[in-house]
């Protein structure tokens, strides 16, 4: 009883335990979205973490909702939707201090896999458990991300592509990239493209690459591939496991400045995030994230 009173006082004064849920339909059919919402409301009440829920609409974007939560002094934001919902929410933080959570509406969510939240029920249970892990936050321009960015190589396209389509995508002419690392040295490479990773679905605490708690970014660049290599390694490239491809360059660093070719796109899950020249850097242990027991890191 005493704890309950203390909990309510904390909520009223500091907003510490008050949860703000951002519900995003994304590409879901309306019927499924409504069903998931009802299910979510029930589970939130059951676990006594109801807080406030706000739906994303054409007139009220994720960014608007993050601003509203900030004005109300709320400290915990929970993105309910797809990976894209979380990524947009992260970009909208603009350096403001929140504890973040994620509840997946999408069964194919990569972030859900990373955080150890396979479904809606586990998502709500995880938020209620409030196991918080401090992870590295990556910054690109004035925006933020936690997963990975790609350039040249499009893993999303490759995942759905057949053999001939993959050959076409990966057999194109290589590009000459110029990239500055840690304000210390410049890398010039003729390659197909690559990725900058903080976390990926195969991340692990003992993994050398894409460990979200090591305070580093990992830059992987693939050189031009032969047709045989495309056939052999297209699966690895589609999964973002570029280090498995022969002759791949791997660099662990804190700051990356993509200089050339100018205008070349950096993408996240197929969506263009920025263009060269641009700087990507890591802020170690900056993000407080509510994570599941079965997280990959």
């Amino acid at each position: 009883m005493a704890f309950r009173i203390l909990f309510e006082i904390c909520n009223l004064i500091f907003g510490i335990f008050l949860y703000y849920y951002i519900l995003d339909q994304g590409n879901l059919p309306l019927e499924k979205y409504e069903k998931l919402q009802t299910q979510l409301q029930g589970l939130l009440a059951e676990f006594k973490i109801s807080g406030e829920a706000a739906r994303v609409t054409p007139l009220r974007s994720v960014t608007d909702l993050v601003d509203t939560a900030s004005q109300r002094g709320i400290k915990t934001l929970v993105a309910c939707g797809s990976d894209d919902t979380f990524n947009v929410m992260l970009a909208a933080l603009k350096g403001r201090d929140f504890t973040l959570g994620f509840i997946p509406f999408d069964e194919q969510s990569m972030l859900a896999k990373i955080l150890g939240i396979p479904d809606l029920f586990t998502g709500v249970k995880t938020i209620a458990g409030r196991r918080i892990e401090k992870i590295d936050l990556a910054k690109i321009g004035g925006s933020y991300f936690i997963s990975f960015l790609e350039f040249g190589v499009m893993s999303q396209q490759l995942k759905n592509a057949g053999l001939w389509q993959s050959l076409k995508l990966l057999s194109s002419e290589s590009r000459s990239f110029t990239i500055e690392i840690d304000d210390s040295y410049t890398v010039t490479i003729d390659g197909m493209g690559g990725l900058v990773a903080n976390i990926r679905s195969t991340s692990g605490k003992n993994e050398g690459i894409a460990n979200p708690t090591d305070g580093n970014l990992d830059l992987l660049i693939v050189e031009r591939l032969t047709k045989t290599q495309v056939v052999t390694y297209r699966g690895a490239i589609a999964d973002g496991l570029l280090e498995k491809v022969p002759n791949t360059t791997v660099i662990k660093c804190k700051k990356i400045r993509f200089l050339e070719p100018r205008g070349f796109s950096l993408t996240m899950l197929g969506r263009v995030v920025s263009k060269f020249p641009v700087t990507v850097e890591i802020i170690p242990h900056r993000l407080r994230m509510i994570v599941g027991k079965n997280r990959t890191f």
Binding site: S184, Y185, I189, G208, E223, E243, N247, T249, V250
Partner: protein, 139 residues
């Protein structure tokens, strides 16, 4: 640590891998193992191990814990542990290490200093002077 162990250690756990078509301009610093297959025009520095593959070129100094050199280095190599010069290695510069292994065919022009090497004694037998000698009773 023997040669095979060092090779496997670097190849499997290299934190930084510089691919064959990569050209690096500037100082390459790392906290982990480095594997170089391309070209580096600048200092290479790590407290761990460096593997310079055949065909790779480094035009500056190399400072590392251990090193296996199979490529070309034009600069001084300062290693605190093992240094292995493979048959394809071409070194133009001074080297400093604790344990050195040179394979047949390796090319090396420069001075070589062994860390903790035995200082030549008056008798010229190369026996380590100092504490060891003091412990032995004189006859």
């Amino acid at each position: 640590m023997d040669k095979i162990a060092i090779d496997e250690n670097i190849s499997q756990q290299a934190e930084t891998v510089v691919g064959p078509s990569v050209k690096i301009q500037g100082d390459l610093n790392s906290e982990g193992n480095i594997k170089i297959e391309g070209q580096v025009a600048g200092k290479v520095k790590t407290s761990q191990s460096v593997f310079v593959n055949q065909g790779a070129k480094i035009a500056a100094d190399v400072l590392a814990g251990n090193a296996v050199i199979g490529g070309e280095v034009q600069g001084n190599i300062k290693i605190s542990g093992h240094l292995i010069l493979q048959s394809t290695a071409k070194i133009a510069g001074d080297i400093s290490c604790t344990i050195l292994r040179v394979e047949d065919g390796a090319q090396f022009s420069g001075k070589c200093v062994m860390n903790g090497a035995a200082a030549p004694t008056a008798t010229g037998n190369g026996k380590r002077a100092g504490r060891d000698e003091e412990l032995e009773p004189e006859e």
